[in-house]
């Protein structure tokens, strides 16, 4: 048999190398598709949602007339409260007309339409400020007021002359006027941090809608989940992994935990509705109930990752501890648990991130309601985390249901906020893991 040269590939080697190259290219292609999908998703969300972080404001000097806002003339807030926001709206309209005249802008637009360029939310803002400080009456005060959502949309490119001509809520003339106002600085668009702090607003005033209540609600729920799920899950895992006898019962429990992790989240919502609201009579829409439901949903996830972390600690460490006369519990708490901590932390944070983004169970326990009051952590009437609130993902769901396109922008902005929170949590998981691992 003649020996072949090593310098030429034989047929079999060629085929093997080709197979390997093919497989690698499939992998690269798969990753490319995934990256592209991610890029498209992020670009679309950011392009559509970034607008929510800027807002158009009208800056006007208004002389607050005593005869219209304080008819009794005694500056008593209780008396002054009789003047409704409608009364204030006309004051704002007149103030804006005066400001336009002072700036030398002439327009054909009717007084009513000029007034409509200011958000309906603005009159409430001014009223609240006046009631809080009655001495402002009679003074000329500089106000920074929200522009109407359509005007805001015009400066962000969402509303054009062409769409305005078909729109009942805004006319091309108003847009022309808005452009003139922008030239002299009466109207300007700037960064809108209030998006993160304001509560939700009604269908007619998307410009005033914010995520304040939703962020607070999500935060409270995460506190409930962390406080309940982490200790319960870690205790259950340690018992199952280190102490429990390996018999049929623990096998059944193990299988059930794995199954629970796969139960659709809406089922947990039904469970929460039945147990926490109907049976235990906790408040609907409260972060307490939301947190409890999400705790049930997160527990199996944390238990599974904690058990995996405990399993990955080498048995020689347990032997070493038992060998010097440590008790089972000492060996677990002094040696095994610290080594498993990074894995447990990562599992917990990933579980929390999953809970933060969960929508379905919260719909069933009423967190999709329209809530304008900030929930208190503790209130006398509702108890701990008992005030109604919404949560970030349900707020997004809620906004996408509304007809005004300005809410779509709001929803996309809320998605950006949610993604940022998730990114921060996942980054924290990675950083914590690195930090703890370096100690050994």
């Amino acid at each position: 048999m003649t020996s072949k040269s090593l310098l030429t590939e034989d047929k079999r080697t060629k085929a093997r190398n080709a197979a390997e190259r093919r497989f690698k290219s499939y992998g690269v292609a798969a990753i490319a598709v995934a990256m592209m999908a991610l890029a498209i998703l992020l670009t679309s969300v950011i392009v559509k949602g970034i607008g929510a972080f800027s807002q158009t404001y009208v800056t006007i000097d208004i002389t607050l007339p005593a005869d219209r806002l304080d008819k009794e003339g005694n500056r008593d807030p209780a008396e002054m409260a009789k003047t409704t926001t409608i009364g204030y709206a006309s004051v704002l309209r007149d103030g804006l007309i005066d400001t336009l005249a002072a700036a030398g802008i002439e327009t054909e637009v009717s007084a009513k339409d000029i007034g409509d360029m200011i958000s309906k939310e603005a009159s409430a803002t001014v009223r609240n400020r006046v009631l809080a400080n009655p001495d402002l009456i009679g003074e000329t005060v500089n106000f920074n007021l929200l522009a109407d959502g359509r005007i805001d949309g015009f400066f962000k490119g969402r509303v054009t002359m062409e769409t305005a001509s078909r729109d009942q809520n805004v006319s091309p003339e108003q847009l022309v006027l808005a452009e003139q106002m922008a030239e002299v600085g009466i109207i300007e668009t700037r960064i809108n941090w209030a998006f993160l702090s304001l509560p939700d607003a009604s269908d007619q005033r998307p410009e005033a809608a914010g995520l304040g209540v939703a962020i607070l609600g999500s935060l409270y729920m995460m506190i409930v989940v962390l406080v309940l799920a982490l200790p319960i899950a870690v205790a259950a895992s340690i018992y199952l992994e280190e102490f429990a006898p390996k018999n049929r019962w623990t096998d059944i429990i193990e299988v059930n935990i794995a199954n629970l992790a796969a139960v659709p989240s809406i089922v947990y919502g039904i469970l929460g509705l039945a147990i926490f609201i109907n049976f235990m009579e906790f408040n609907q829409s409260s972060p307490l109930v939301g947190g409890l439901v999400l705790t049930l949903m997160t527990l199996p996830t944390i238990i599974i990752s904690t058990r995996a972390a405990l399993k990955s600690v080498p048995p020689s460490i347990r032997d070493a501890a038992l060998g010097v006369g440590a008790s089972k519990m000492q060996s677990v708490f002094h040696h095994v648990l610290p080594l498993a901590a990074p894995g447990i932390l990562t599992g917990t944070i990933i579980g929390l991130a999953q809970a933060l983004g969960e929508t379905a169970p919260l719909l069933l326990i009423g967190m999709v309601a329209f809530v304008r009051d900030y929930p208190q952590a503790f209130s006398d009437s509702a108890g701990l985390f008992g005030d109604p609130s919404t949560a970030l993902p349900v707020q997004i769901y809620n906004w996408t249901q509304r007809s005004d396109p300005a809410f779509v922008e709001r929803a996309q902005g809320a998605i950006i906020v949610l993604l940022v929170f998730l990114l921060i949590m996942n980054a924290a998981a990675i950083i914590l893991r690195r930090k703890f691992e370096r100690r050994w």
Partner: protein
């Protein structure tokens, strides 16, 4: 070195020990009397049960769910399988060194101090420092690590790690020291250091060592037991086992015909 003339106290007395792992009968009716202040070696081919038997002496087999031990082992006349005996207390009295060096992923100091801490052997930091130094000296490691006591024990070399584990085991002042193939993961130089150490430890402890190496058994031990297929075939003075064994199986093993 081999002082066989005077009779020594019996430290560990094991009678009719059987061990089952599930259905497997791992140790079959083994009885052995282990003397105090002596190095006793267990030799035999892989899977013959010598490590299993060793782990009966400090009840480490308790940690394996399927393991079952019957028979009677007494240390200083006290039955260690008596229901009143807490295995944790027993293991403070019977230290163990494992096959693979397994220092805790903590500092060298904390590795040695851990046992004394959990057993309350020191009243203050100064006493603990003293115990750590004494133990590391007994482990023949002090000179090498005294300047870096607070560096991780896992950063030491294999031989140093094993000596650290020995220091950790002697720090709790045990009366018996069990060693499960302590040199199998070490190079010849580290092995020589550990063997020298074992000879010194004999002054204070009853040492039981499981080894694969017959040369090692001959070098360090005074008594040797030969295990084969779960039976203890022969137990006698080390000299006698290696020069004039009674059982033909022992002879075959030490001359390299089986194993």
């Amino acid at each position: 070195m081999k002082d066989t003339s005077m009779t020594k106290n019996i430290k560990i007395s094991a009678n009719n020990i059987d061990v089952y792992y599930g259905d497997k009968h791992a140790i079959k009716d083994v009885s052995v009397q282990i003397e105090d202040k002596t190095v006793t070696a267990f030799i035999g081919p892989s899977g013959c049960g010598k490590s299993t038997f060793l782990r009966c002496i400090n009840r480490m087999n308790d940690t394996i769910d399927i393991a079952r031990v019957t028979g009677h082992i007494a240390i200083d006349g006290e039955d260690i399988y008596d229901p009143r005996v807490d295995p944790v207390q027993l293991r403070a009295k019977v230290g163990m060194v494992f096959q693979k060096p397994n220092p805790f992923p903590k500092s060298i100091y904390d590795n040695v101090a851990y046992g004394p801490k959990i057993h309350g052997l020191s009243r203050n930091k100064a006493e603990l420092d003293e115990i750590v130094e004494k133990s590391l000296r007994r482990g023949a490691l002090w000179e090498e690590v005294k300047d870096r006591l607070h560096e991780p024990g896992t950063g030491l070399s294999g031989g140093q790690q094993q000596r650290l584990c020995i220091a950790r085991a002697v720090a709790t002042e045990p009366e018996v020291l069990l060693m499960d193939e302590p040199c199998s993961a070490l190079d010849p130089i580290a092995t020589a250091q550990v063997e020298e150490l074992i000879d010194e430890l004999r002054q204070s402890f009853s040492v039981v060592i499981v080894t694969h190496s017959m040369q090692q058994a001959a070098r360090v031990s005074q008594k040797t037991a030969f295990f084969h297929l779960g039976n203890m075939v022969e137990y006698d003075e080390t000299d006698k086992i290696f020069t004039n064994p009674e059982d033909p199986r022992t002879e075959s093993y030490i001359s390299g015909r089986i194993g």
